[in-house]
Amino acid sequence: MDPLLRVEDIHKRYGTEEVLRGVSFQLDRGQTKVVIGPSGTGKSTLLRCINRLTAPDRGQVWLEDVEVTAPRAKINEIRSQIGFVFQDFNLFTHLTALDNVRLGLVKVKRMGKREATTRAMEELTRVGLKDKAGAYPAHLSGGQQQRVSIARALAMDPKLILFDEPTSALDPELIGEVLNVMAQLAEDGMTMIVVTHEMGFARSVADEIVFMEHGVIVEQGPPEKLFRSPEVARTGEFLRKISELYGAEE
């Protein structure tokens, strides 16, 4: 089967610092890839290069048979097919949970208001926040805000969803509710790339783990292989360290 997403030789430089130094990988439909690595190794930049929120300097991104990085690519149309979940949620402050989820349907997909409402309520229900539809972001907890933002991404019926450290801004007791929603999505067959430090999640949900450092992929493979017998010593070292910090249940 053709891969859903192909990333080829992505480079990105900020000033003198080369954040991404040639990253390539593929992602199949229904697959969940977890990207791990020390801070400042370009994980977030990589995600943003995939939907061109950040323009890569070099390399190509293909979503099915469409080249995302082509200068004439219909980038807005492509972005509407790629969900993005931010570390800081970035819910629209002036809109209720329902309107946050509905806005893209109405403004981007040109869906009728009634249909959009039904669709948005489905997704809010899916993340367990049906009863918070009328609440403004300021009245929601961090965990609830992040779940609304996941519903906002889901409502667009994306081909894949990119998660940029979705639990890093959350209080520890709120992390579980967000990870549970994400694990359920993976189970439902959603294609996802998740940048995270949550090793327990990586281990139990990922089909494949990608370990990145200094702007390159050091090693990638199924979680069991990376956790038990990594080929590169540095991978094992990082996994041990991060597992101590964040905890990775067997």
Partner: protein
Amino acid sequence: MEAVIANVVEVTRHLPMLLRSSLINIQLLLALLVVGFLVGTVVALLQVYGGRFVGVVAFVYEWVFRSIPALVLLFLFYYGPAQFGLYISSFLAATLALGFRSSAYQSQVFRGAIQSVPPGQMLAARSLGMGRGRAVISIVLPQAFRLAIPGWSNEFASVVKDTTLAYAVGLNEIMRSARIIVDRRYDLAMLALLVVALIFLVFTYAGNGLLGVVERRVRVPGLTTAEPGGTRREHG
């Protein structure tokens, strides 16, 4: 004492004329606020989102209209076009002169408000597939306008009073009516002007009350000037 009472009665007789002409001030106020709002919003957007060249043009515009005295602007707009055979009404001249002037001040208020909307809001909108213009209209401006209300109220209070300057280009507004009373009976000057002052006290009071109502109506939790841009952390 009797003379004072007689004067009050005389000025009261002119009250309908003063009130009628004060409607012209209100019309001018609304017209110049609309011009100032529309142009001010565009100038602010150009300063924030335009390139360097556009930004410089917008800056010069703002600088020019904030530097020239209002009275000079009024005369320039009224007599200027006439030099080229283009005769415009004193109302239109006053609307444009005071409106453009106000737009320079309003653009500052809006620019600050636009810049205090966190960049993540734009990113999230773009990630859904909205174009930049769409995102500005649906996401950035609705938040910026709410944040701008307090600053905009100051500008409102200031331009209410500026409408009396249109007297200088012959608009039949309230100052001109007061002047007619004074020309007939100079001893009524003090009283007539006090009535004008009183009318403006009411205008300002009513206007601020109205803006207060608007502010409460559109208020959204988490979006106030007390905590500009909300409470979120930026990306680390």
